[in-house]
């Protein structure tokens, strides 16, 4: 790096009114161009910076642009298609563009929620990567003024027969638990899948939900000339430097291990204090705005706060408390040290802000102020200017790309794969074994090994615990402050990456359909969506095609189900050694339940109850868990999705729950009707005696993954009422049989006969056995 400098002479610095100051030049044009490329900027992006500034940028400026214009911060490859999403609706209080989306849930309460990935750091160091993923998403929530009340995890790994995959899985789960448990925020749901497609690039998504009174909604903005910028929380070190550009915006290769220093380290105790201090600051009305320091650290939070208000900022990095010696200004500006917040307050209230932070044992330091120049100014000490650029250029002038895309050849090949020669099981013994194999598969099996490492009960609002229903149900209210309601929210996260791989457009729509169905099966009405779109490199036309298709399908489904997207994130470059992951657009759906006492669970309730299938089964084994587990195949035409039928099935299910007619509801998804039946038995501690009277082959009848099906049960004396209601609805349905005591086992006429204990062992023993905890 060149040290050539052209000193700017004369003192043009005023108190917050820097106009034409130029920073101290520390790079010649050639060196700057080289550094830009090293930092991940494209040559034409560098040219654009030179043009915007009208001069050669400084080191600090180049770092700042490289971060803010990185894929991770600028969404330069995705913005165009993200505009397809519906983002508005009567319940939406805050759509995309803020730290989290916010919807009204009634009675004056609002929930803020967002899902985000932390894939790349976790692939390098799973414990800290996953832990800081939770920390980051939680900060996004309380930045909005909401108290974080729930977490969810969405995980993808390679297969667990590989030691490295077990290490990643074990570390990520432990990291999520360690962070969320310490904060006292319950982790109440999530999903996980294991496939070779994720072997070189695991996915670690985290969703957080926060609760607030509607009037408390806070935005990340810095306005009011002369107002103070206050940095709250941890000291700033060199950890995580370049995280957004180096880790999150490039593929992995042999050098991945060397990137370990770019992974941040979490301190949940400080985060807990930050939550309490920030909520107290907001409660007392002491702040103008609040932003969290996530990817690209101080740079992104400060520039976004300035950009939203259309103001300038003047920051002195020498005031930032540092945990390492001799840090350069650019290092301070882009450090991703965790557990830091940036607050904006009037000079009059600043002493009170500092006092609240002190009470919570947190560092709080005035590091700069709001100006009217529109310039993003960084200085090192009062006299040395190291950066002065138009604040809006970081966000509004970021390049936008519309890369070419083309359908990959595999799509047609796999859709048309000839599956007719497969040797399907036919005898009761073989079919029973196939069901047990599916129940024991890591994708389907019991996830207790994971969720028992998470405190899923703290705050005393978890109405439906993990494993008991298709979605988590959380009561709305502030325990300990006497503000309870009768309302609840239901939350489900979902994505079948295999479906999306085989048919990105329909696969993404199916992910939304299933997440909505899960929420509906608890009785709640889907209200809004967050998404976490994980794909390979957008610079590869075949990969980008899957992105465009998936986003298009998801947008169409959101409109059909009338659920706006209020927040989300895009993670590209999920590849290793040139091989992309399955495209995995994970969906988080939040639904509203007006009467918490009406919530429904999936377990059968009592022997003698009648089991009914709403919807009908077609021969749709393409892309199924059955083909994967039995034949190692990811091929075929994935299940069809009829939006009208799906909406109607969900709506009728919700009505049956609200009217108190049915006693259990469980959606049929991976593993088909047979797996859904076994799960309702296992959850209820009961057996079942049923017949599947369709015209299909035994394998299709049991394991087809036809959509828009819900398995319900009803007390015998209300069975006629249920049948009348279903007949009136015009939906297809069939009466399958009855619930039996556990000792009678799980029996499907002419197809399956297994004991309850066999089913339980298959379902529950898998993860402890694979993880060496049996």
């Amino acid at each position: 790096m060149s040290t050539q400098a052209e000193e700017v002479t004369g003192d043009k610095r005023g108190s917050g009114t820097v106009l034409s100051d130029e920073p101290v030049r520390d790079l010649d044009a050639e060196t700057a161009a080289r550094l830009a490329v090293e930092l991940g900027l494209a040559p034409d992006e560098h040219d654009r910076i030179v043009e915007l500034l009208g001069r050669t940028p400084t080191t600090t400026e180049l770092y700042i642009y490289s971060l803010m214009w990185s894929e991770h911060c600028s969404y330069k490859h995705s913005k165009k298609y993200l505009r397809l999403f519906p983002t508005d609706g009567p319940a939406v209080l805050q759509g995309p563009g803020e730290n989290a989306g916010v919807i009204s849930v009634g009675d004056g309460w609002a929930v803020a929620f967002k899902m985000e990935s932390h894939n790349h750091p976790s692939a390098i160091e799973p414990f800290q990567g996953a832990a800081t993923g939770i920390g980051g998403i939680i900060r996004d929530i309380f930045t909005m003024g909401a108290r974080p009340v729930a977490c969810f995890d969405s995980l993808r790994f390679g297969t667990l027969d590989k030691p490295r995959q077990r290490y990643l899985f074990e570390g990520a789960v432990a990291g999520i638990g360690a962070y969320g448990n310490c904060l006292g925020v319950p982790t109440i749901g999530g999903e996980v899948a294991f496939d070779e497609a994720y072997e070189g690039n695991c996915l670690i998504g985290a969703m957080a939900v926060g609760l607030m009174r509607e009037e408390r909604l806070t935005l990340a903005t810095a306005s009011g000339v002369g107002n103070q910028l206050i940095l709250i929380g941890s000291t700033t070190g060199r950890d995580g430097i370049g995280g957004a550009s180096v880790l999150a915006s490039q593929e992995f290769d042999e050098g991945a291990e060397a990137k370990r220093p770019a992974v941040q380290v979490g301190d949940p105790f400080t985060e807990k204090l930050l939550i309490e201090a920030c909520l107290e600051l907001l409660d007392r009305g002491l702040l103008v705005g609040l932003g969290d320091l996530g990817a690209a650290g101080l740079t992104s939070s400060a520039s976004e706060m300035a950009g939203r208000a259309g103001v300038g900022l003047d920051i002195d990095v020498s005031k930032v408390p540092q945990r390492e010696l001799a840090m350069q200004p650019f290092e301070i500006m882009v450090s991703e040290s965790q557990e830091r917040m940036l607050a904006c307050a009037t000079p009059e209230l600043t002493p009170e802000v500092l006092a609240v932070c002190e009470k919570w044992g947190l560092r709080a330091t005035v590091i700069g102020s709001v100006t009217d120049t529109g310039q993003f100014v960084v200085r090192e000490g009062a006299d040395k200017l190291v950066c002065s650029l138009p604040a809006l250029s970081l966000t509004d002038d970021a390049p936008l790309y519309d890369p070419p895309y083309t359908e990959p050849a595999y799509i047609q090949e796999l859709a048309n794969a000839n599956l007719s020669g497969l040797a399907h099981p036919e005898s009761v013994e073989e079919l029973s074994a196939a069901l047990l194999q599916l129940l024991a598969s890591p994708d389907i099996c019991d996830k207790r090994w994971i969720y028992e490492q998470y405190d899923h009960q703290v705050m005393c609002n978890t109405v439906v615990v993990p494993g008991a229903a298709d979605a988590a149900v959380l009561r709305i209210g502030d325990t300990g402050r006497g503000q309870m309601t009768t309302r609840a929210i239901a939350i489900s996260t979902d994505c079948n990456g295999r479906y999306v791989y085989l048919n990105p457009r329909r696969g993404a729509a199916l992910a939304l359909a299933e997440a909505c169905r899960n929420v509906s099966c608890t009785g709640a009405t889907p209200a809004a969506v967050t998404d976490c779109l994980n794909f390979g490199s957008p610079e590869k036309p075949e990969v980008y095609w899957t992105f465009v298709e998936a986003v298009t399908g998801l947008a169409e489904a959101c409109r059909s189900f009338d659920v706006p997207v209020v927040s989300g994130n895009v993670s590209f470059y999920n590849e290793s050694f040139g091989a992309p992951i399955y495209p995995t657009p994970t969906i988080g759906v939040v639904g509203i339940l007006t009467d918490v006492d009406q919530h429904m669970t999936q377990g059968f309730a009592a022997p003698g109850d009648v089991i009914v299938l709403i919807g009908e089964t077609n021969d749709e084994l393409g892309g199924s868990a059955y083909l994967k587990e039995r034949f190692g195949l990811a091929a075929g035409e994935i299940p069809a999705l009829d939006f009208d039928l799906e909406r109607e099935v969900q709506s009728v299910t919700r009505e049956l729950i609200a009217d108190g007619i049915i006693r259990s509801a469980h959606d049929c998804s991976e593993g088909g009707l047979a797996v859904a039946l076994a799960e309702s038995c296992l959850s209820g501690g009961l057996g079942a005696d049923v017949a599947f009277d369709d015209e299909l082959s035994a394998a299709a009848s049991l394991f087809s993954e036809t959509q828009s099906r819900v398995l319900v049960s009803v007390a015998l004396e209300r069975a006629d009422e249920l049948i009348d209601r279903l007949e009136a609805s015009m939906l297809p349905f069939s009466v399958l049989g009855e619930v039996t005591p556990a000792e009678a086992g799980i029996r499907i006429l002419d197809k399956v006969a297994i004991s309850f204990e066999e089913a339980r062992a298959a379902y529950e023993d898998t993860l402890p056995r694979l993880m060496g905890d049996a």
């Binding site: 448990n181 904060l183 400080t270 807990k272 405190d455 009960q457 703290v458 300990g480």
Partner: protein, 238 residues
């Protein structure tokens, strides 16, 4: 009668179950008041609860730092005068660190955090719990460091009552003994909760406050842990 009794809930930086305890108290008609760790004035509290959480991040060792908070001097004084003190989970860890209770809580045998509903058996009575020996209860556990340990002489002292008493043990669903080393967290002798010799200080790893409100609980075996002692204090026995 418990109604109207006043309980102080001690809040350390990093405590995270104080609201749950206050909520349980509210459900049972008990007035709860938060006591910040820097305070030295316990006011008119008739009983104290040290709630769960991760005081000071549980850095160094669970409870090791919290034990030096200013409020702990007052908690110790309060306990020494025979008034009732309850420690739940992290609170139990702090009470052992403060030597108000015998033994220590070390990392779970499998080194993993456990959140699960468990079966417990009442073994003896103290000011906080008075159930027939052998009564089976179900409460959730939520901890990473709940593996009770003490040296052999202390264990002997717990048996003869000189060091304190074992109040709760982990057990099978039907109340039978677990196999040796069979406690979910590996606790010595399956010990889940102990009191001091006087019976006024009680610590347990399970969370009774999470088993009070039927709408959001696995079970409703929690109320006895709050009402028993408050009947005592309001009748002026303690």
């Amino acid at each position: 009668m418990a109604a109207g009794a006043k309980v102080g809930v001690v809040v350390f930086p990093g405590s995270n179950c104080e609201q749950d305890v206050a909520y349980a108290c509210e459900q049972l008609g008990i007035t709860a008041r938060y006591l910040w760790h820097g305070e030295r004035d316990l006011g008119d509290c008739q009983a104290l609860v040290l709630p769960g959480g991760f005081s000071y991040g549980d850095y160094l060792r669970a409870g090791a730092v919290a034990r030096f908070s200013p409020v702990m001097e007052e908690v110790i004084r309060f306990a020494e005068t025979g008034r009732p003190v309850l420690g739940i989970c992290n609170g139990f860890q702090i009470l052992t660190e403060a030597h108000l209770l015998p033994g220590a809580l070390i990392r779970n045998a499998r080194l993993k955090f456990i959140c699960r509903n468990v079966a417990l058996r009442a073994e003896a009575s103290c000011d906080w719990l008075d159930l027939p020996q052998g009564t089976v209860l179900h409460l959730p556990i939520n901890h990473g460091e709940g593996n009770y340990y003490c040296d052999p002489s202390t264990l002997e002292g717990l048996r003869d009552g000189t060091a304190g008493r074992v109040i709760l043990r982990y057990c099978e669903e039907d109340g039978a003994d677990l196999p040796r080393h069979g406690a979910p967290n590996g606790a010595l002798d399956a010990i889940a909760g102990v009191s001091n010799a006087a019976g006024n200080v009680f610590g347990l790893m399970p969370h009774p406050e999470r088993a009070v409100d039927p709408q959001a609980s696995y079970t409703t075996d929690g109320p006895a842990f709050f009402t028993t002692v408050l009947a005592l204090v309001t009748e002026g026995v303690r």
